[in-house]
């Protein structure tokens, strides 16, 4: 019996596909998320919108919060550690969480290095803004990728930018000859063997979700039509006026993302979505997506 293998790590992400992973801060939130049809939850002390508002240094959540959420639901529970903070990751692995998000939403612990994730039995998901960043993370051992977007803004524009960047690069690779791939790998800053793999299969080597700014059922379906295999919704659910209804609607829109009649139907009467932020009003130093490389 082999545990913690690559197939097992990447396989759990395959089981999450077509689903919605919801940020939760209490066991009660977690139960609402599970009841709404979330395929997993992200256990946090604060949702990204509140982390953004609070400022200061954001760290791994208190294990008490994470354990209470693991106790409350039967779906997989993820938790975030800071970029490069491999000891927070070791602690999360010891708690038994099902996935670790090495996340730009928390304050980075290391500006030059991400975690060497192959050392862990627990799988990792990492953020990216383009194909090169995605493949660097996969090479380090990320078993799942999510585009970063701009967390806590309720604004989909950065998520769209990052997903388009990844998908455009993949399409571009498919028309290249082998010698061109070497130059392209250099330009992308990605390992050649990963680039070759992407060209052969026409997709990322691991499952790719969208994150950072999804605040409505239509946002979720937009990301799916652009090529996401599932979505993370952070502040979009529990910062809306009716989290239960919003959660259910986003789950349905993610499954039926190519069915406009269903998307229109589930978008009815959801109350007020989370307040949004215009990205251009955020000072550059406060952007989360530029954390990590």
């Amino acid at each position: 019996m082999d545990k913690g293998t690559w197939t097992i790590k990447a396989g759990l992400a395959q089981m999450l596909k077509g689903g919605v992973i919801m940020d939760v801060v209490t066991p009660e939130h977690a139960k609402i998320a599970e009841e709404a049809g979330a395929c997993a939850v992200m256990a946090l002390e604060r949702v990204p919108a509140d982390i953004r508002a609070a400022g200061g240094v954001a760290r791994m959540a208190d294990p008490t919060v994470i354990l209470a959420i693991m106790e409350a639901v039967s779906i997989p529970v993820m938790a975030k550690c800071r970029i490069g903070h491999f000891v927070e990751a070791q602690a999360l692995e010891a708690l038994g969480v099902d996935y670790i998000d090495e996340s730009e939403v928390l304050t980075p612990a290391d500006e030059n290095h991400h975690i060497w994730k192959h050392d862990f039995k627990v799988p990792f998901v990492c953020g990216c803004r383009d194909l090169g960043e995605a493949l660097r993370r996969v090479a380090e051992g990320a078993a799942m990728i999510r585009t970063k977007g701009e967390a806590g803004t309720g604004n989909i524009v950065e998520a769209v930018r990052h997903m388009r960047a990844v998908m455009d690069e993949i399409r571009k690779l498919s028309s290249m000859t082998t010698d061109e791939l070497v130059a392209e790998a250099k330009a992308l800053g990605a390992p050649l063997e990963q680039v070759i793999k992407v060209q052969k299969t026409g997709r990322l080597p691991v499952v790719n979700f969208a994150a950072g700014g999804i605040a409505s059922p239509a946002d979720a379906a937009l990301m799916m039509q652009l090529g996401a295999e599932g979505v993370f919704v952070g502040s979009g659910i529990f910062k809306s006026s009716d989290p239960e209804a919003m959660g259910r609607a986003i789950v349905k829109a993610t499954t039926h993302y190519r069915d406009p009649a269903i998307i229109a139907d589930v978008s009815k009467g959801l109350g007020v979505a989370m307040p949004g932020l215009d990205i251009s009003t955020i000072p550059e130093k406060n952007l989360l997506s530029t954390r990590g490389w």
Binding site: K3, Q14, C39, S74, D98, K252
Partner: protein, 196 residues
């Protein structure tokens, strides 16, 4: 050509479709009741059983799926699919199984993700060599009724694959490997070549 539907509400449905296409049958994703028409068989894939169960109810798929099961329609469930085919589920958390097979299963029976594993399984109905099987937060069979044939067990005797009539339930993920033998076995049930 035979046409197999794969329930595509959430989970690893594309992996099943790819494997089925490689075996030379038609395969299509199923999200709504009207898409069930004209199928020769159905696969319920792995994913989150709570999510799939909720979407099945919300889009009125539970009743037609129960009817198909009662009519002896060929259905294969893997992991979450096994849970949804079961008569009874321990650790149920809001799931409403189809109660199609006379098996009682336990969800997340081996523990959390860190306890997920790969192992070799002897499965007599597909012969040698043993089948490389991937268990991810997997269920197992706690009890199987008289009409149920347990097709595979772990080294400690735990039942992890079963057949009842034209229904097949697997606790693991043949769609995550390149070995098509269990899908071929299911297609032989669809073709009526593997009658019991």
């Amino acid at each position: 050509m035979k046409k197999i539907g794969v329930l595509a509400l959430q989970g690893a449905f594309m992996e099943h479709i790819t494997l089925l296409l490689s075996l030379g049958v038609e395969a299509s994703p199923i999200r709504l009741p009207r898409e069930l028409e004209g199928l020769d068989g159905l696969i319920i894939p792995g994913g989150e059983s709570t999510t799939i169960s909720r979407l099945m109810r919300e889009y009125a798929l539970s009743a037609p799926l129960r009817d198909l099961c009662n009519d002896g329609f060929p259905i294969m469930g893997t992991c979450a699919g096994m849970i949804l085919l079961a008569r009874k589920v321990a650790h149920i958390n809001g799931i409403q199984p189809l109660e199609a097979m006379d098996i009682e299963v336990r969800r997340n029976a081996f523990g959390r993700q860190v306890d997920s594993f790969e192992t070799e399984l002897k499965i007599p109905v597909i012969g040698e060599p043993s089948f490389h099987s991937v268990f991810i937060r997997a269920p197992y069979i706690e009890r199987a009724g008289e009409g149920v044939e347990v097709l595979a067990r772990l080294y400690d005797g735990t039942g992890v694959a079963a057949r009842q009539g034209n229904m097949l339930a697997l606790a693991f993920h043949p769609e995550l490997t390149d070995d098509p033998r269990l899908h071929s076995y299911f297609l032989s049930i669809v073709n009526g070549d593997a009658k019991r």
